[in-house]
C-alpha cells in the first residue's frame, strides 16, 4: 500500500496539521510515513502545503511532484495542484469560495462543503478534520480510531475537551462523501 497525498490551502486553515495527524495515525498502524511541509518565505502571503506519504515499504523521497490524492482548501491551491494528481487519482476540495471549478475528467473529483459544515458544527477550525474524514472514507488510508489516537497525542492536554467535537467532524466528513 502506498498513498501520496498533498494537502494545500491558506495558512491558518490547518493544512499542515491535517497531514501531520494523518501521518501520525498511519505510524500508529505501523506504516512507514513521511510528512513534508512546504517551507520558507513562499509560505508568506497565505498558501501552505504539505505532503504525507504512507507506505508499507521504505519511503524514498518525501518531496514528490505527483500525488494520488490532492486535498485543496482554496482557489490558488486548486489551480496549482489539480494538474499534479495522477490519472485515476482523486481531488477533494472545499467548495467555499471556489469560483474556477476543476476540469479534469481522468481523476475523481469530490467537492465538499466543509467550511459550511464546520459552521454548522459551530467551530470553523474543524474544517480540516471534516475534510480528513472525507479522505478516510474515500481512500481507507487509516482507521478512524487511529486518527483519534493521533489527535489525542498531538493535541496539547488543554484542548482534549475538543476531542469529541473532532470525532464528530471526522464522521461528518465521512458522511459527506458517502452519498
Amino acid at each position: 500500500m502506498l498513498q501520496e497525498i498533498i494537502f494545500a490551502g491558506f495558512g491558518g486553515q490547518g493544512v499542515l496539521s491535517m497531514g501531520q495527524i494523518l501521518a501520525y495515525a498511519a505510524m500508529l498502524e505501523n506504516r512507514e510515513v513521511s510528512w513534508m511541509p512546504s517551507y520558507g518565505p513562499e509560505m508568506r502571503g497565505g498558501t501552505a502545503n504539505c505532503i504525507t506519504i504512507i507506505s508499507d515499504e521504505v519511503i524514498s523521497s518525501p518531496i514528490i511532484s505527483k500525488f494520488d490524492t490532492a486535498i485543496v482548501l482554496n482557489q490558488p491551491s486548486l489551480d496549482k495542484f489539480e494538474k499534479a494528481v495522477t490519472p485515476n487519482g482523486i481531488l477533494i476540495y472545499d467548495t467555499n469560495n471556489i469560483i474556477k471549478l476543476p476540469t479534469r475528467n481522468d481523476i475523481k473529483i469530490y467537492p465538499i462543503p466543509a467550511s459550511q459544515e464546520a459552521l454548522n458544527l459551530k467551530n470553523s477550525r474543524v474544517m480540516n478534520v471534516i475534510v480528513l474524514g472525507a479522505l478516510l472514507r474515500l481512500r481507507n488510508t487509516v482507521k478512524v480510531e487511529s486518527v483519534m489516537s493521533a489527535l489525542k497525542k498531538v493535541l496539547p492536554e488543554r484542548y482534549h475537551h475538543l476531542l469529541p467535537l473532532n470525532e464528530k467532524a471526522l464522521m461528518r466528513g465521512m458522511e459527506l462523501v458517502n452519498n
Binding site: 518565505p41 513562499e42 509560505m43 508568506r44 502571503g45
Partner: protein
C-alpha cells in the same frame, strides 16, 4: 464670465517607480509602506536613473522585484559593504541600503559601524521590527525584553541574551554619520515624516555630507502573531517607549542652507 467647476484631481497614487506587481509581504507589513514611500521620493526627486539600491537577505530581499531601479541583492549583513563598493566606483549616483534589524544589527554590526565611521555617502533605511521576519520569527538584536520569539520561548532575558540593541544611537555617535533619525510608518503622519526624512537624506547624499541612517520602527504581524491593527498598537505601546521616534543627529545649523 468666470464660473466655478468641481473636478476630482488625482492627488495620490502608487509611484511609477514601484512596479505594478503584487508584493509578497504579509498583510499589513511595514515593508510595503516603506517601499512605497521610498519610491515616491525617488520619483519626486527624479533620480530613478541615478539611484542604486541594495537589499540584503531578509523579508525585503525581493525588493528588486518591486522597485523599478537598478538593484543589488547582498549577502546577509553585508549590505553596506556592497553599497560601499558601488558608491566608491560610482560616487555620483545615489546609493541606499534597505536592511532589517537582524541584518544590520546582528551579523552586519561590523559593516554597519565601519561604513558609518568612514562616512560613506550612502543612505541606510533600517527596518526595525524586532524580529527575524524572513526566517519566521527568531529573536533579533532589537527584540524587546520579555518578548516571546521562537528562540526566546520564555521571553528575552538579559542574562541570556543581553539588552535590546539601540544600534542607531551608537551610529549617531560616530563623526562619519551625518543625519540619523528614527521614524515609523504606523500612522499616516509618521509616513509623511518618513517621506521628508528620506528626501532630506538624499539631499545630503547629493551634497556628499556622509552617512545617513533612517531607522523605521516597523511591525511583523505574522511573527508577532497579531493582526496588523494589533501589531501597530503593540508597536506604539511597546516599541516606541524603547525606541523613541525623532532625530538622533541632525546637521549643525550653519551647514544647512
Amino acid at each position: 464670465m468666470v464660473e466655478e467647476e468641481i473636478c476630482l484631481e488625482k492627488v495620490y497614487s502608487k509611484p511609477t517607480t514601484l512596479l505594478d506587481v503584487k508584493m509578497h509581504y504579509c498583510p499589513g507589513c511595514g515593508h510595503g509602506v516603506v517601499h512605497k514611500i521610498l519610491m515616491e521620493v525617488v520619483e519626486e526627486l527624479g533620480i530613478q536613473e541615478s539611484t542604486i539600491g541594495v537589499a540584503p537577505v531578509g523579508c525585503s530581499v525581493f525588493a528588486y522585484n518591486y522597485m523599478n531601479i537598478d538593484m543589488q541583492e547582498a549577502a546577509h549583513g553585508r549590505a553596506t559593504a556592497v553599497a560601499t563598493g558601488i558608491k566608491r566606483v560610482l560616487p555620483d549616483k545615489y546609493v541606499f541600503t534597505y536592511q532589517g534589524d537582524g541584518d544590520l544589527a546582528a551579523i552586519g554590526t561590523g559593516e554597519t559601524i565601519h561604513t558609518a565611521n568612514r562616512g560613506e555617502n550612502i543612505l541606510t533605511i533600517f527596518i526595525n521590527n524586532a524580529i527575524y521576519g524572513m526566517t519566521t520569527g527568531q529573536m533579533a538584536p532589537t527584540t524587546l525584553l520579555n518578548m516571546v520569539t521562537t528562540t526566546t520561548p520564555f521571553g528575552r532575558k538579559v542574562e541570556a541574551n543581553g539588552y535590546p540593541l539601540k544600534i542607531t544611537d551608537l551610529i549617531a555617535q560616530l563623526p562619519g554619520a551625518y543625519y540619523v533619525t528614527r521614524q515609523s510608518v504606523h500612522t499616516p503622519n509618521n509616513v509623511r515624516k518618513l517621506k521628508k526624512a528620506i528626501a532630506l537624506a538624499f539631499r545630503y547624499q547629493k551634497e556628499k555630507r556622509g552617512y545617513c541612517l533612517i531607522e523605521v520602527v516597523s511591525n511583523c504581524p505574522s511573527n508577532w502573531k497579531m493582526t496588523p491593527i494589533e501589531a501597530n498598537k503593540w508597536l506604539e505601546e511597546n516599541m516606541l517607549p524603547y525606541y523613541p521616534l525623532g532625530d538622533l543627529k541632525v546637521p549643525p545649523k550653519e551647514e544647512e542652507k
